[in-house]
């Protein structure tokens, strides 16, 4: 994953990645009406980022979407989901569904379910991208004291 692949792969990846992201966002937003939801949409978005990482090499992909920003997005998703649960105290007890329930088969239905889907989708997408990015940068180096992990690109 150090350098990217050939020009054909780069051209096709440039055209395909927006559609993958669009599919992932559609799975997240319509999770309460059709099959999908937070987990499926998050995994699809992470798959799109992995395609970027493989086709363009590591430096170029991290210029588009740096991994420090992805760590912050991961924490933001977790805090957002917990804050939706704590806001249920205004209705009575913990995790109470306090919003208006809307009408069946419309976009606004199910109360707080749509916001929970969005937070879970952000969290899963960022977390899987961080895991793949960290694994692509690690090297197993045998030193005199035994086995150590280093990040590539840093001196011993």
């Amino acid at each position: 994953m150090d350098k990217g692949m050939s020009e054909i792969v780069k051209g096709v990846a440039k055209m395909v990645v927006p559609f993958i992201m669009l599919f992932g966002i559609s799975l997240i937003l319509y999770g309460h009406i059709s099959p999908g939801g937070g987990f499926s949409g998050g995994v699809v978005i992470a798959g799109g980022f992995v395609l970027l990482l493989l086709a363009f090499g590591r430096e170029h992909a991290f210029r588009i979407f740096p991994e420090k920003f992805a760590e912050k997005l991961d924490s933001l998703g977790a805090v957002g989901f917990l804050s939706i649960a704590v806001l249920g105290f205004t209705g009575g007890h913990f995790f109470y569904n306090f919003l208006d329930k809307g009408r069946l088969f419309h976009l606004w239905s199910g109360g707080t379910m749509i916001f929970s889907n969005i937070m879970i989708g952000i969290k899963i997408g960022a977390a899987l991208f961080v895991a793949i990015a960290m694994l692509s940068m690690a090297r197993l180096i045998h030193t005199k004291e035994g086995v150590e992990y280093r990040r590539s690109g840093e001196d011993k």
Binding site: S34, P35, F39, F105
Partner: protein
């Protein structure tokens, strides 16, 4: 009945791979296969003959939906 026996066979193949192999890649493959066997057992316990997925659509009534849908609770336990 034979369905449950086949799922147990997959579980034990994966368990053999974890215990008896020396290469670390084979051990990771064994862990994944044990995970597959457990997930498929959960979903198989909640299946109903000629059942539909537990997602209600516009053209089905509520009574026929409840009488012919697959059990949604094991699927919620399996989802990652």
């Amino acid at each position: 009945m034979i369905v449950y026996l086949l799922v147990a066979a997959v579980f034990f193949i994966g368990l053999y791979g974890i215990v008896a192999k020396k290469n670390i890649i084979k051990i990771i493959v064994g862990i994944n296969i044990v995970g597959y066997a457990v997930n498929i057992l959960f979903v198989l316990l909640g299946y109903r003959w000629n059942g539909i997925a537990p997602i209600i659509t516009r053209e089905i009534e509520l009574e026929t939906f409840v009488a012919s849908a697959v059990d949604p609770l094991p699927q919620a336990l399996v989802l990652t």
